[in-house]
Symmetry: C2
Subunit: 172 residues, 2 copies
């Protein structure tokens, strides 16, 4: 099981990026996202996508960071510009932490030092500045061996792959 912790979310400034982080978490196979800070509008936005497009992705905006870290059983992976390479990180998870649940941390603003210490693995998805949205997508893609491509969310709206047309099935 994979859960995501979005740290440092500032409701007005980070609204859109955090939405993308949440949608990526869901679409690429995580089961839950924690967004500490009680941004209930953010929760509504993400919950609405789940209602329409399916799955049982959970959005928790009320738990605090310490509680989340304390309650988590499994490994903590922090995605950062400063970390071991993605292939090395994936190999280490597979060999040293097989079958363990994973809490993936992605920061908005600067992540406090204790997260680097607390993480079992600091992984950098490339050593260039880019985006926590992309980093999360690539990490989830690699850790799942691309399984997200075959997931069926069973939602009310289902989009059918089609090169030329907008092909949407809406369940009654």
């Amino acid at each position: 099981m994979i859960e995501v912790l979005r740290m440092g979310h500032r409701p007005s400034r980070d609204k859109r990026i955090t939405t993308h982080v949440g949608l990526v978490a869901r679409a690429f196979g995580a089961e839950k996202i924690y967004i500490p800070g009680n941004d209930t509008k953010m929760k509504e936005t993400l919950d609405r996508v789940v209602r329409i497009f399916g799955g049982d992705f959970q959005v928790d905006v009320s738990s605090g960071i310490k509680k989340i870290l304390h309650q988590h059983r499994g490994i903590v992976v922090h995605l950062t510009m400063y970390g071991t390479s993605l292939p090395d990180g994936i190999t280490r998870i597979r060999t040293e932490h097989e079958e363990e649940d994973i809490l993936v941390i992605v920061g908005a603003k600067k992540v406090p030092r204790y997260i680097y210490e607390r993480a079992d693995l600091n992984i950098s998805v490339g050593n260039q500045p880019h985006s926590e949205v992309a980093a999360l997508a690539l990490f989830l893609d690699r850790i799942s061996n691309g399984d997200w491509m075959d997931m069926d969310f069973g939602g009310k709206l289902k989009i059918v792959p089609d090169d030329r047309n907008k092909n949407v099935i809406e369940k009654n």
Copy 2:
């Protein structure tokens, strides 16, 4: 050669997402991004990253969409929720468009119908709502076979993969 066209950028609303799109384009191996609309602040932001972290990624905010599409020699790939699957799209590019330059279009707001028609391929990176930032990263990852991981940008600042420390080399 791969170039990216960010469509529908609204300077105030899309500032941060477009920044992420631009940084992802650079970090995952595209050579240029077009962001029509003359947002010179956006250009400054992205150019600054190039100055510090290296490479010769180009940022064009002055060309219009029609001119970009008219001048492009090669194929046009539009990333959308409604398209053929990513594996199918990559296979078709490799078999039907080998060696051709690629212009990758990602939209901010709703993309006009003529883009779907003009595109040689409409590709959906999963059929769930998520993020153009993630879609672009996954597309560039797959089309390059992960080559972005070995790119050397030769910048003034270079981050060295390190699981425990912030390891940065600054050139004189």
